[in-house]
């Protein structure tokens, strides 16, 4: 059994791998982006200093939960173990990656695809939803990240 799947069943507390990047609602998580109060454009990761729209000089932003479903723009996988700071399971388990288009925000967000779903199961346009899964665990906690999962109803 891999470290990763073992981790999913451990009793350690779960912690976000990146603090403040997503809600820790394990049932219906959201990525946390920001929205410019002047022009309304969205940012992920959060932008909090200045708006990058060249026709906007906005400097105030609201934190907003991003849409938690979207359509696959493209996808791939990682056949080889990435270098540090990636912390890999031993033995290394390849994983799929999806770029998912959020309709309301009109942006594409990358993420690993949930364990057990390979590229063969993915197609452009497929509906995906955001879930949380363990990325790795250390002595104290399970580190959770966001992942994309095919919507069950397809």
């Amino acid at each position: 059994m891999s470290k990763e799947s073992a981790a999913a069943t451990s009793n350690k507390p779960s912690v976000a791998v990146l603090d403040g990047w997503f809600t820790m609602d394990e049932d219906k998580p959201h990525l946390l982006g920001s929205q410019c109060n002047s022009c309304g454009t969205y940012y992920f990761p959060k932008q909090s200093n200045y708006c990058k729209n060249p026709s906007c000089d906005g400097e105030s932003f609201n934190e907003v939960p991003l849409s938690r479903t979207g359509k696959v723009w493209s996808f791939t996988n990682a056949c080889y173990q990435p270098p540090e700071p990636y912390i890999a399971a031993d033995p290394y388990q390849p994983y799929a990656i999806a770029a998912v288009e959020l309709e309301k925000e009109k942006m594409v967000v990358l993420g690993q695809v949930i364990t057990g779903v390979d590229v063969d199961a993915l197609r452009a346009g497929m509906q995906m939803e955001l879930v949380l899964e363990t990325l790795f665990e250390d002595d104290e906690s399970r580190k959770l990240t966001w992942k994309w999962k095919p919507l069950a109803s397809q």
Partner: protein, 393 residues
């Protein structure tokens, strides 16, 4: 045309993993370019270097490093850094100096020595650095190339066999190029048998990193005429535009695109040649040969469409029909491209211009594109850097 400058000489140090100091490659390329130009080093008024970030302080001041190595002779120096477009930006600096009348002849040089192994981010916990974050989440460089490649398969129906054809074609081109690192012909079966790295891309679909050096001697058109080189190949356009917000394609090292909720999405790759065509007064239909940045086989197909050399989604058909080979209607990467060179960042954009110079002079030997009069380059790097250069004969 008042905005043109002349290319008097081109030179390169062969690409490889030689493990020498980058200065050696640059000096070799520069001396070859000077000899090719028939220009005495002491007549060069401006040395424009493309920086390397991997070779310590001498790399940050590459222009001065090359000038000192060639023998200080009082020329002014400049160093440009623009990621993969560094060489084009160094060429643009030389052009500005020449067109302003501040100098007649300039030497442009880029060279690099690459480290062994994979490129990885700096150590430590750095969640504010997007490059660190994406590696922590398991998103590597091939991820991005693979997403673009898969997108082509999903939208246009391209296949992995099409991508393999690009490798086979470029390997054939590079086979006779003395400056190429990989001079070996491959079959589609060879590509298909190589290890999958990031589905749908295999090891042989993705370019390596290399050592290498490239240099150009450029001058005002007036100077070229004065020394009897009025017929020299001319630089008709150099585009180094930045992207326009909102960038609609996921770019390394980002985890998300810009939002197009308020501003329409733009393509950076398509914007680069657009400005070059406008500046040169040349239409895509006038192009005889192109050198494009094939970081992956599939990316060469994207570039053909971004350069408007064919309609969106039609690049693979041209490859299948053999049109992009030397001898075809629209040869792409006659040098062999990155597939045969591997990337030597500060030298790569200049090597594209060297190749087109030889092509437009009719000096490219077995890989010569017959009767080539107009050539275009295209490349893109990190952080909003990219370039497209048009040469005319």
């Amino acid at each position: 045309m008042s905005n043109e400058i002349a290319i008097l000489g081109a030179g390169m140090h062969p690409w490889g993993k030689w493990g020498k100091n980058f200065t050696e490659y640059g000096v070799k390329a520069a001396r070859d370019a000077l000899a090719d130009a028939g220009v005495d080093w002491r007549d060069v008024g401006f040395v424009s270097g493309a920086a390397t970030m991997r070779c310590g302080y001498p790399g940050y001041v590459a222009g001065a490093t090359f000038a000192q190595a060639l023998g200080w002779q009082g020329a002014e120096v400049n160093t440009s850094y623009a990621a993969c477009a560094s060489g084009s930006q160094a060429l643009a600096a030389a052009r500005a100096k020449i067109l302003s009348g501040a100098c007649d002849v300039a030497l442009v040089v880029g060279a690099d020595t690459t480290p062994k192994g994979f490129l990885a981010p700096q150590k430590g916990e750095r969640p504010d650095d997007p490059d660190w974050v994406r590696f922590r989440l398991g998103i590597t460089n091939p991820t991005y190339f693979a997403l673009y490649a898969r997108r082509r398969m999903e939208i246009y129906g391209d296949t992995q066999d099409d991508f393999a054809l690009v490798k086979v074609k470029n390997a054939e081109h590079g086979f006779s190029n003395p400056n190429a690192r990989y001079k070996k012909k491959f079959s589609a079966e060879d590509v298909a048998a190589s290890a999958m790295v990031a589905d749908p891309l295999r090891l042989m679909d993705i370019c390596a990193t290399s050592d290498g050096g490239a240099a150009l001697v450029v001058s005002s058109v007036g100077y070229a005429k004065k020394i009897g080189r009025g017929d020299a190949v001319k630089v008709a356009a150099i585009s180094t535009v930045t992207p326009s917000y909102a960038s609609g394609i996921i770019e390394m090292p980002d985890l998300a695109t810009d939002s197009a909720a308020v501003v329409e999405a733009q393509s950076f790759r398509a914007a680069l040649p657009k400005k070059a065509y406008e500046e040169a007064g040349v239409a895509p239909g006038d192009v005889d040969v192109a050198e494009v940045y094939d970081l992956s086989t599939a990316l060469e197909l994207d570039w053909m469409e971004d350069l408007q050399l064919c309609e969106r989604g039609e690049a693979a058909q041209l490859v299948r029909a053999g049109q992009t080979r030397v001898g075809g209607r629209l040869p792409i990467n006659p040098s062999g491209g990155l597939a045969c060179f591997g990337e030597a960042v500060p030298a790569q954009a200049l090597s594209q211009v060297c190749e087109l110079t030889w092509q437009l002079r009719g000096e490219a030997g077995a890989r010569q594109v017959e009767g080539a009069k107009v050539g275009i380059t295209a490349n893109q790097g990190l952080f909003g850097h990219g370039s497209s250069v048009i040469l005319k004969r």
